[in-house]
Amino acid sequence: MQTTLDADTTPAPPHIAKHPLHWRNRDYGHHWRNRDEEFDASKFGMWLFLTTEVLLFAGIFCGYAVFRMLYPEAWSNGSHYLDWKFGAANTVVLLISSFTCAMAVRCAQLNQQKWLKINLVITLVCAALFVFIKLKFEYMVKLGDGKAPGTFFSYEYAQNAHEQLWWSLYYVGTGIHALHVVIGASLLGYVLFRSWKYQAYGPTEYTMVENSALYWHLVDLVWIFLFPLLYLIH
């Protein structure tokens, strides 16, 4: 349901206020009875989509569990190669971004256009920081050591024959997660762009903000599982 919180009453500049994409000018789909139903449906659809995402990652977690059982030693070695400090840093970064992302939704509901943009910018900065840490301090360093997936694996000091598998799963898991970070950031970037240009989101029109934020929370959630499994459990 739409919330009816106290709205920011600052009027938008006239060229934006008249734009068809401005939130006050948006209509709902012709096949809906009212705006609320459309909003509920969109959110419901997003939750279903998030279910599919969870199941997608479930496949990776399942593979992780199976090989952990088969080759516990390689898995233990594997997590020792990872530096928990980078993982923890990235966890903090993502948690902050999730908070600002949630705040962005609230700002849209309250028509606080300025803070909506600020929160989105912080979220995007966190996303960039996450990817930067991942690439610069983890992927680049490890690839340089030869700890690469599949055919590219050339790490000479591996103590267990199955460490190659560990790296494969590490790259598949974190790689697909990183891809989701990029997709989520793109969605939020799109929201930021429209919000900047047209003030497209407000108390009666924030479906896109809400759904992008839900997606972003999922990205966070997946990392909350990946981090201990890969970095902390020895």
Partner: protein, 586 residues
Amino acid sequence: MMTTLDTHDSHAHGGSYFDGPPGLLAKIWQWMTTVDHKKIGVMYLFAVLFMFFLGGMAALAVRYELLDPVRTVTELQGTELVESTTGQRLAFLQDIMNAKSPNEVYNRMFTLHGAVMVFMFIVPSIPASLGNFFLPIMLGAKDVAFPRLNLMSWWIYVIGCLIGVFSILLGGVDTGWTFYTPYSTTTDADHYRVVLMVLAAFVLGFSSILTGMNFVVTVHKLRAPGMGWFDMPLFIWALYATSIIQVLATPVIGITLLLLILERTMKIGIFDPSMGGDPVLYQHFFWFYSHPVVYVMILPAMGIISELLAIHARKHIFGYRAIAFSSLGIAAVSFLVWGHHIFTAMGELAAVLFSALTFLVAIPTAIKVFNWVATLYKGSIVLNTPMCYALMFLFTFTIGGLTGLPLATLSTDLHLHDTYYVVAHFHYVMMGGTVIAFMGGIHHWWPKMFGKMYSETGGLIGCALVFIGFNLTFFTQFFLGTQGMPRRYANYVDEFQTLHEISTYGSWILLAGFLVHLVTFIMSLVGGEKASANPWGGLTLEWECESPPIEHNFHHEPIVKHGPYDFESVVPPHCDPKDYPLPQSH
């Protein structure tokens, strides 16, 4: 259903959904960018039928190769003994397909058949075509919940099919549609055709997920006023259960196929035994999706049968709630039985567990069949093409279901697994179930979709040929399997020849049946009699629309005041009470 709908002012509101802007290019552009669920449904219908044709051609090629075994014949030519080989009937394709041997041509053909039929035809068949067209209408909605997403899933489907067809045009793949590792990761190592085909299946999965999501939300949010959950037609219940499976199962095949692609391109080793990976893990992942997806294929068919039997027997469906709940029950249990595809590759304990769960899934299916048959009791049965197809479904699907029992039974499965018995069983379920119901459904809703009647004679002749051809083709295969004929063999020992021959002749009759249908449909489109709004006397909401429906389906939002099968108390809309009298005593 009695509604506020007044059909007599229909033309004041514009014509059918088919009417487009003048000019061919404008029309094509309008169809390509349409968000109308009906247009998308019709485009899907033609696309899946084309894929059915493509997969069917491959099936005929497979049957043609198996007409006789490969024999080496020694002949005296002049003074020399010359050895020659007979029975390699697909050898002429070897150069065209750039294959290593005639056997590889055969292997590519059955892979092509399986991959096209499963990923491009049967999974999207009923939900994406008839489902797209009728789900919103039967709920009394103007469209699906997310029309643009619907268009997107159509285009993703097209892209997936194009990638698949591209792989086929490059020569095709010989992995089998199941892409079992490590064969699929090592065959034709220097070619990207396998990657392309796997990518096609991956992309098609997205289309499936999006359609499923769309349907679930539509059913939850867009039911007409007065339509409670238990006032929904059973076709909708079936599509709802199907969509849930699509949403929950497809992502798992997504990650599996992605891993397979990485395995082939980068040798990540997860499924590669030489690197410590586990090829059986692939099978678990694969069937975790591909068994539930069997119910994605069959549940919508069951929904169609519920509609056809009720309407053409003019009888309230027997045990409405039992059928509705059994759909959900099947959807739930379907996630727990994947292991029965790999009894011969798993430990004893797991095998016992999966055997028990597999028997469990048989029960809701049996309940449905009993309810359908009970619906016929004291009905008013008309033997038109849709009804004949529905009855044929009861016949073939019951055989398909019962022949599944020895496959769920552990001791007999060890013998029958990966033989022609399995081939026969799943064709009785998939073809004898889904395709037969699909054909029945197309005939049933043809007048509504295109506004034209089809020739009942043509329909019945086609139906009879399909029945005969289908049973000849596949019943023989049960015996081939029990007697020792393995699957996916390009060649076989002489003693199986008679049964293989009968099976191949049956496939030709089957082809003839479908050609009769094709001609009937074309004749209907070209010069068919105009269909009335409610030719069968149905009570579900689509029969309150015009034939074909107007752009937004209804002139006014319908209000539902009776159930979908209340034939004993309601005279169908647009129908003469003389033709559809109510019972004298009730």
